[in-house]
């Protein structure tokens, strides 16, 4: 019993680490723009497809694939920003969101035009079996995922709180008008944040694809839904909240899957999300990034 609990908690944290990265990407974009980017997941999917294509044709190692995914996702992310968000900066939030949905469809079709099969294998994070430790089988993928996610969070923290660019990002999150008046080039910060968020998303995508050892076109929608859910759970717009929300989502999934089964797992997630939103507790409505 207790072993199961511990094992599920470990697995949940591993998955939660990748959700945390997705939520961080979403939060950055939402924080600076106050806009929802539905194409966030699909850009990640495109990156993973690019990596898969390189892998199929050149048999590259995982690190190189990660670089390919990073480049392709970032490119797609900046493209989405230019076409869907830069023009609607002061305008309609719904128009920006629908535009990002239109590009979702576009990115998805672009990916499947190159790789039309429903499913492609992706190299695993770690080919060996699980580590045995005090009766727990530690999946190495989960450890790698958690460590990589923690590293990315630390790096992001350093960028946001210790660099000049980070100062500008946080200023825009706090008040984009005041940021403009302080001499910060706000449109450029938007584009840079999109690139940064895409890079974080690409890392999450690579980790997820190699943990699942496959990519499908569904990865786009999947990433968008998981990232959104984790962001909302952690309190919209808060960076530490995004990490907490991702981990909470991972734990909630692994435990409800174990005790209730896969269908009830998703039901539980949406039920919790719905209930939290309906009750609208204060920590879900924090707006500040700090």
């Amino acid at each position: 019993m207790l072993l199961d609990l511990a094992q599920n908690t470990l697995d949940g944290l591993g998955a939660g680490a990748s959700y945390a990265l997705l939520a961080l990407g979403f939060t950055l974009i939402f924080g600076v723009l106050r806009r929802m980017n539905l194409s966030f997941g699909p850009a990640i999917m495109l990156g993973c497809y690019a990596a898969t294509w390189v892998n199929l044709n050149f048999q590259a190692n995982l690190l190189l694939l990660a670089v390919v995914a990073l480049a392709a996702t970032t490119l797609a992310g900046v493209y989405v920003e230019r076409l869907c968000f830069a023009p609607h900066r002061r305008g309609s939030a719904i128009a920006a969101m629908v535009a990002s949905f239109a590009l979702w469809m576009q990115l998805e079709e672009l990916a499947t035009a190159f790789l039309p099969r429903h499913l492609y294998a992706f190299p695993p994070l770690y080919a060996g079996g699980p580590l045995e430790l005090a009766g727990l089988s530690l999946r190495v993928e989960a450890i790698v995922m958690t460590v990589a996610a923690a590293g990315a969070c630390a790096l992001l923290y350093a960028i946001l709180y210790r660099s000049r660019f980070g100062l500008a990002v946080r200023a825009v999150i706090d008040s984009s008008t005041a940021a403009e008046l302080s001499g910060i080039n706000v449109p450029r910060v938007f584009a840079a944040v999109f690139a940064l968020a895409s890079a974080i998303g690409a890392l999450a995508g690579i980790l997820i694809a190699s943990a699942h050892e496959q990519v499908t076109p569904m990865l786009g929608m999947w990433s968008t839904l998981k990232g959104l859910a984790a962001m909302m759970l952690g309190g919209l717009g808060s960076l530490p909240g995004a990490v907490a929300g991702g981990l909470a989502l991972g734990l909630l999934e692994s435990h409800s899957q174990w005790y209730l089964g896969p269908q009830f797992r998703d039901l539980t997630i949406y039920l919790v999300l719905f209930a939290l939103l309906a009750l609208n507790p204060r920590w879900m409505t924090t707006r500040s990034a700090s």
Partner: protein
């Protein structure tokens, strides 16, 4: 004295509604110039249009004989114009020190000296340097907003109702600082509803009503004109 800022026939609209209907005015180098007028006259719109946050439909803004009408706000800051916006708009989640650093975002040189000098001028800010700006009192936030704007070393400081919502003692403090800044060589263009205070410091006045400049003159002519009564009426309504 030469005009540092020249606004000519400026028209700014929100959709179809024109908030500025052809505003022309000049701010002389080295002066304190004050813009009076009732709520909804378009004063804040004018400030935002000069600072580039709002894009005018027609007309021009020239600063040091350079056309800055269609420049982006950050470029206007680097050409030497800084706005202390209405309601202060500090970065609430960032510390006082970070707010000041953000204000100097266009600069690449060392900030230590400026920060030191501003802390000497605003000792309260030094005490609270590591505190999030959102936890400051209204008066302190106003000081911070002014200090942040000064971090860009502006030639022209625009101030939009710096006394709004502050206690009388704090208002006096703000105006003392305005006078000091002026003495140190900064040109100041001030929006104010508190005509009493403005009369003490400003050398030139404009009155704006319904998107137009309806009066221009020095304190003497302002006092003679029945316009001053109307300006007071405006402040009484606020």
């Amino acid at each position: 004295m030469a005009a540092l800022l020249e606004v000519k026939d400026l028209v700014t609209a929100y959709g179809k509604i024109e908030a500025l209907k052809g505003v022309s005015l000049e701010v002389a180098e080295g002066s304190i110039t004050c813009l009076l007028g009732p709520n909804g006259a378009g004063k804040t719109t004018l400030m935002f249009s000069i600072a580039g946050v709002l894009r005018p439909k027609a007309g021009s803004v020239r600063f040091r004989n350079e056309d800055i009408t269609r420049k982006a706000p950050h470029a206007i800051v680097s050409s030497g114009v800084a706005l202390v916006p209405e309601n202060r708009l500090v970065f609430p989640g960032m510390t006082v020190l970070e707010n000041l650093q953000a204000g100097a975002y266009q600069r690449n040189d060392s900030l230590d000296e400026d920060i030191e000098r501003l802390f000497a001028r605003f000792p309260r800010l030094k005490e609270r340097a590591a505190q999030p700006a959102g936890t400051l009192s209204g008066g302190e936030q106003q000081m911070l907003a002014v200090a942040r704007a000064l971090m860009s070393r502006p030639r022209l400081l625009l101030m939009d109702e710096p006394s709004l919502g502050l206690a009388p003692l704090v208002v006096e403090e703000i105006f003392r600082i305005v006078a000091e800044l002026h003495r140190d060589g900064t040109t100041i263009f001030l929006v104010e509803q508190n005509a009493h205070m403005a009369l003490k410091v400003a050398q030139h006045f404009f009155l704006m009503e319904q998107g137009r400049v309806t009066f221009s003159g020095d304190p003497g002519s302002l006092a003679e004109d029945e316009v001053i009564r109307r300006a007071y009426l405006g402040s009484a309504k606020a």
